[in-house]
């Protein structure tokens, strides 16, 4: 049919898959279709600088429009994540090096500031000099850590940095009795698992930073400064060399670039940014603990970077906003439930065509729920007498579909395992089977959520970060704002 059309009217679109269709792919993608395409073009017309200005203005407005401390605190944390992701973007996104000890540099900066501005060693250095000193020291540390993995082959660097990150946590956690090879008495350097408390606030040009709002603005200024620095470096000779190393380090070396040195610079630059961020983090929290610099933080920063798109500066902003705000919302089970259901529904609407398939899937999920609930209740009413984690109107409504036993933990666990298996099965089966399987998986998802996942919001958050990484890497490795990389074979 498609060939008939193209013969009759050669000016219309070529048949899918023929050479002309492939050749015109870029133009078609750029043009976009329907309202999405129109919106896309409108968005593209705004110059990049405009977006940054708009973001800055919006971010600066936050403390003015709300006096809610919680919201400002979330904003501050988001800015911290943005700064961290900016630094990591240099290492991973620009230079293409996998740095798995990144949060250790963040921690090093935090501990560095804490030691020089607290009662731990009875030091109170001027803030500005501490900032400069700590940033430079962290950058130097990054340089030293990367140095031994001689040619900085990706995998070796990953191992050394991962081990370094783990070692940092171990050392700071046991740092209250450090001995030199067991011969001397134990020195208390980091105060062990209790962390360093009563860290002094920033004091810039004689003004002590006391309020959350002032910290928020300082974080914003830090972010803008680092963003500009990264932007300038990225468009400089060094930035161009980094990208060429990422794409093909052998070719870069043959073009006369000092590949090893450039990689070390990228690594040190990223570490320096993390160190600077650490000082800010330590001074607002007025305390540092080794557990803040462990793997979950690392994975979260990676999720932000990957979601936004490695190598994209705007993506860092978007990724940090999406990930951190989502994680905050996930703290309350009822809000999380709404996000969860909206996300599922949005995915279904985007993926299922035509509309009646979508309708059939949703209706059959409801029917399946009613049937399962009726059957279970008929066998033993005791098994359906419990309540899920979701409360309120929605919870009562869900109870009609989900036979939840009084102790939902065990069944919820099995539902979760079955859900994972079901989702994996969905990725391999063909359309018809997929549509038949979908209602079951949807039902399992709702069941696992109500019976288990929503009971443990803190673990669910972490599971979701893992899922984000896996799914994004498989489905859209360039992230939200990153550019598709063309692989030359």
């Amino acid at each position: 049919m498609a060939t008939g059309d193209s013969e009759a009217a050669p000016t219309t679109q070529p048949a899918i898959g023929v050479d002309e269709w492939v050749a015109s792919h870029d133009a078609r993608r750029d043009r976009g279709v329907g309202p999405v395409g129109t919106a896309q073009r409108a968005v593209d017309r705004v110059p990049k600088l405009g977006w940054y200005v708009a973001f800055t203005l919006a971010a600066a407005m936050v403390p003015l429009v709300t006096s809610n401390g919680y919201i400002i605190r979330v904003g501050f944390d988001t800015l911290i994540y943005m700064l961290l992701a900016l630094g990591l973007n240099i290492v991973v996104g620009f230079a293409g090096l996998l740095d798995l000890g990144y949060v250790a540099f963040f921690g090093f900066g935090a501990y560095g500031y804490a030691m020089l501005s607290s009662s731990q060693f009875h030091q109170r250095w001027p803030t500005v000099s501490v900032l400069i000193l700590v940033t430079l020291a962290t950058a130097a540390l990054g340089f030293i850590v990367a140095l031994p993995s001689r040619r900085l082959i990706g995998d070796y660097l990953a191992i050394v940095t991962l081990f370094f990150g783990q070692l940092f946590v171990t050392v700071t956690n046991n740092g209250d009795r450090i001995t030199i090879l067991g011969f001397t008495r134990g020195y208390n350097i980091t105060n062990g698992p209790n962390g360093i408390a009563d860290v002094a606030p920033f004091s810039i040009f004689g003004h002590q930073l006391e309020t959350l709002e002032s910290y928020y603005y300082v974080a914003l200024i830090f972010f803008l400064v680092v963003l500009s620095a990264v932007y300038l470096v990225n468009n400089s000779r060094t930035g161009r060399s980094w990208r060429s190393i990422r794409e093909d380090s052998l070719a870069a070396e043959l073009m006369g670039m000092p590949v090893n040195r450039l990689k070390l610079y990228a690594f040190a630059f990223g570490a320096g940014v993390a160190g600077l961020t650490g000082t800010l983090f330590a001074s607002l929290n007025t305390a540092v603990f080794s557990s803040d610099f462990d793997t979950p933080t690392l994975i979260t920063v990676y999720a932000i970077l990957i979601l936004g798109g490695a190598g994209s500066l705007g993506g860092v902003i978007l990724g940090a906003l999406v990930v951190n705000v989502t994680l905050e919302v996930l703290r309350t089970p009822n809000h999380a439930t709404w996000i969860f259901f909206t996300l599922i529904l949005a995915t279904l609407i985007a993926k299922l065509r035509p509309w009646w398939v979508l309708g059939a899937v949703i209706v059959s999920t409801f029917v399946l729920g009613l049937v399962v609930n009726a059957v279970v209740t008929a066998i033993n009413a005791e098994w359906a007498s419990g309540h899920g984690a979701v409360r309120g109107e929605l919870g009562r409504w869900l109870d009609r579909f989900l036979p939840i036993p009084p102790d939902p933990m065990k069944v919820g666990n099995w539902a979760f395992i079955a859900l994972v298996a079901g989702v994996l099965a969905l990725t391999v089966v063909r359309t018809l089977w997929r549509n038949l399987l979908l209602p079951v998986v949807l039902y399992l998802a709702i069941y696992a959520w109500d019976a288990r996942l929503a009971f443990e919001p803190s673990i669910t958050r972490l599971i979701m970060i893992g899922v984000i990484l896996i799914v994004l890497m498989n489905a859209r490795p360039q992230g939200l704002l990153g550019e598709t990389r063309v692989e030359i074979v």
Binding site: V92, G96, L98, L100, P148, S149, R150, R151, G154, D155, Y156, A158, I159, V160, L162, F163, F164, Q166, L167, T170, V171, N174, R177, T179, L181, G182, L250, T295, I299, Y302, I306, A310, N413, F416, I417, V420, L424, T427, R452, L453, E456, I459, T460, L462, I463, I465, G466, V467, I468, L469, I470, M473, N474, P477, R485, E487
Partner: protein
Amino acid sequence: MNWNLFVSELVAGTVHGCVYALIALGYSMVYGILKLLNFAHGDVYMVGSFIGFGILTVFGGATALSIPIWLLLVIMFAAAMLGGGLLGVGIERFAYRRLRDAPRIAPLITALGVSFFLENAALLIVGAEYQSFNSFSWNPNSSGVGQLWAIGITLPGNVRLSLAQMIVIAGTVVLMLALTYFVGRTQLGRAMRAVSFDRQAADMMGIDVNRVIAVTFFVGSALAGAAAIFNGIVYQQVWAYMGFQAGLKGFTAAVIGGIGNLPGAVLGGLLLGLAESFTQGYVSTTFSDAMVFVILIAVMIFRPNGLIGKPALAKV
């Protein structure tokens, strides 16, 4: 010289090294064939531990076993190796296969994601508490000291080598011999080496690359499952986050020996176990990790391809 301390650290280091070596083998096999650091491997080991613990619970728990110890061990090994192997194959199929020709960093980050997912899914399902194999009380007939630890021989320096420790050492040797035979002498092992050497050429020669990679993941992950049971009967404790540390040690061992090189992985594992236990015995218990890191850095500086690895030729 204090023989007691020396020999007991030697025994402890060898036993721990056997566990590391088995984990390192899995890393090395996967790296050899896909050039991928499979960060999720440590978590396969964790899942294997919980499979073993589940079997123990099914048969009455440590203090009230309903079957003989040897049968329990056989079932545990079979279940953990099979379960671990299948999990490994599943991870490869669903998370890594599509990324086989993607830029190097993409599968690495996916592997991190898989590891994080498995850890936290385990946390959700089994909880955050430490569980114990408690093999000291394994005795189906009466309570008291279990047979695994009651039987044993006495080494010079008055150090006891118990049956549990002997099982670990002997089991590791058997598994390694079997692996050597498998990789060196069988059709599938030869196919594995061919794919590792040049995947495209192997494909053109009619080797089913997907199947060979799946088998590699199965064997490597099954070894991690065996390591998990060894760890359980000697060191008792299992918990949801144990995979991360074990994985870190496992691939450090693989790198020290020469990543992608199977005898190297074993050598690296033993060396790591001995270095750790001698550091704990003679220097400080808390900083054995630091000692391992120093060794890793030293190997990277002086022998970047590992102790018995060959220099890699960069193909253009």
